[in-house]
């Protein structure tokens, strides 16, 4: 295996897909979501009397709980599937690059696109909310901590939704089910069942880092090291699984 050719191939695909995701039609979704988050958090900021707690709760609910998996789903579940469906995947499938590495060339731009979008959306929300209360060091700390969480979330959710895109013919439907029903419903239930969601481990990390809002007082959090290990393990497992399935996939 020629390492240079592999790295060149991954880099070329990453560059191409990042550009497509960040500057293509899907960029409109990021802008709309950012405007929406700005409006909601702006209004909430004008009504809030306890900015640090309320702002943190909003970031937790709106960004981490809702838009994080939704944006990863929108970007990720259709990335490979759309190319399979419109057959533009042909030039990748007939390139001298092992498909397992091509898969990595889809994963990296997906992570970049989801992370950039979520950082932009989070930033707009934070400034719309805390801008009305003075952006102090504690607000900055909340901002940085949530940015870290959305970046970690981008790695995990991207691996999940990209794998769904290879596994299923209708990944958006499966993604919809996962993002809304599984993460939204199962992840909100009390007891051990909520441990079966990515959100649980992201919030567990958040509960250790963030000092304000409900997330800081959350009593069902898993340990930081356990959560880190699980998220890392899950990401690697999903990447390997997705790459294997993509390699074995017949592109009829």
């Amino acid at each position: 295996m020629d390492l240079k050719r592999v790295l060149d191939g991954i880099f070329a695909l990453t560059l191409h897909s990042t550009k497509k995701l960040l500057f293509g039609k899907k960029a409109i979704i990021t802008i709309l979501v950012a405007v929406f988050v700005a409006a909601v958090m702006g209004y909430a900021g004008s009504q809030s009397h306890d900015a640090l707690d309320d702002g943190t709760n909003l970031m937790d609910t709106l960004i981490l709980f809702f838009f994080m998996p939704v944006m990863a789903m929108i970007f990720g579940s259709a990335l490979i599937r759309d190319e399979i469906d419109d057959k533009s995947i042909t030039h990748v499938a007939t390139a001298p690059l092992d498909r397992a590495f091509s898969y990595l060339g889809y994963y990296l731009p997906l992570v970049i696109a989801v992370a950039v979008s979520m950082v932009a959306i989070s930033s707009v929300g934070v400034f719309a909310f805390f801008g009305q209360h003075g952006f102090g060091s504690e607000a900055l700390q909340i901002y940085v901590e949530f940015l870290a969480l959305v970046i970690i979330g981008s790695f995990v959710y991207s691996s999940l939704f990209l794998a769904i895109g290879v596994m299923f013919n209708k990944p958006v439907m499966v993604g919809l089910f996962y993002a809304f029903i599984w993460e939204g419903y199962i992840g909100s239930l009390p007891g051990a069942i909520q441990n079966a969601s990515v959100k649980h481990y992201l919030r567990s990390l958040g509960s250790e880092w963030v000092d304000f809002g409900d997330i800081s007082r959350w009593d069902q959090a898993s340990s930081v090291w356990g959560s880190t290990a699980l998220l890392l393990g899950l990401t690697v497992f999903l990447l390997v699984l997705g790459a294997y399935l993509f390699r074995e996939k017949e592109l009829a």
Partner: protein, 273 residues
């Protein structure tokens, strides 16, 4: 040799058999949907989670009559509306988007078919499918309750049965225009399904966020607004922080505005804009 001009004479005849055309479209939608695996799975899950348990409870628990409060807690707990929302997203997702994607529009509107009839046919088919989950089972549950009641105030129970039918009809109707509107915005049915479900879910999230500051915001959540409306219909009162006029305006606007938008959107599509 000169070129002979083609003389164009617009068609000035009368459209006939409009109702038959509408019926054919509705029947086609209904048949297609009731054979779809996704719709069948959702219907089965919905029956299991929403209706079956209530039906069993009504049969085994002795009751004096059919009470509005029972129907309110059965239909207003959120699960019924969430399933209706999911079903509407799946049922309406391809109704217009697929016609846009495969250019069936040309086929439809090259015939003597009006946009109004096309939309009515599509909506009627979707409403029939929605009715299987939203209207029929609640009426059956209410009817079974009426048949198995121990008391003899049947007029009161019949009244609640009527209210149940009204609620079922409202939920059947509520999500379809919005789903059709989103379906007319895209050529991909998966995006239409996600768009429909997400739009309602976003309103739900926003309502929950703003509820912390002003409880009146509850009405912008379709799940909550329908639940409050059911309580109002069955029990005659609404929470004090809810403005009845605003509630009715929100519910009506979520039906009327999307219906108008989809009509004008299709009018523009047909003339190629």
């Amino acid at each position: 040799m000169g070129i002979n001009p083609i003389e164009y004479h617009p068609w000035k005849g009368n459209r006939t058999a409009q109702n038959l055309r509408l019926y054919v479209i509705a029947r086609s939608v209904f048949r297609h949907k009731t054979r779809s695996i996704g719709v069948i799975i959702l219907l089965i899950l919905g029956f299991l989670f929403v209706h079956t348990l209530n039906l069993i409870l009504i049969i085994i628990v002795p009751h004096e009559g059919l009470e509005g409060s029972d129907m309110s807690s059965y239909l207003g707990n959120g699960t019924f509306v969430v399933f209706a929302m999911l079903l509407a997203a799946v049922v309406t997702s391809d109704l217009i988007s697929e016609d846009l994607a495969n250019s069936s529009f040309v086929l439809y509107f090259s015939r003597a078919l009006k946009i109004r009839d096309y939309l009515a046919g599509k909506a009627a088919g979707a409403l029939l499918v929605m009715g299987i989950f939203c209207a029929l089972p609640p009426v059956i549950v209410a009817f079974v309750s009426l048949l198995t009641q121990t008391g003899d105030d049947y007029w009161h129970s019949l009244g609640v049965l009527g209210e149940t039918a009204l609620v079922g009809g409202l939920v059947t109707l509520f999500f379809v225009p919005f789903g059709l509107m989103i379906s007319s915005f895209t050529r991909r049915k998966s995006y239409a399904a996600v768009g429909t479900f997400m739009s309602f879910f976003v309103l739900f999230i926003v309502s929950n966020v703003f509820y912390e500051y002003d409880k009146g915001w509850r009405i912008i959540s379709p799940i909550d607004s329908l639940s409050i409306l059911f309580t109002w219909l069955f029990e005659g009162d609404v929470p004090t922080y809810i403005n009845e006029g605003a509630l009715l305006a929100i519910v009506a606007s979520l039906i009327i505005v999307p219906a108008a938008v989809v009509y004008f959107r299709l009018t523009r599509q047909v003339v190629g804009k």
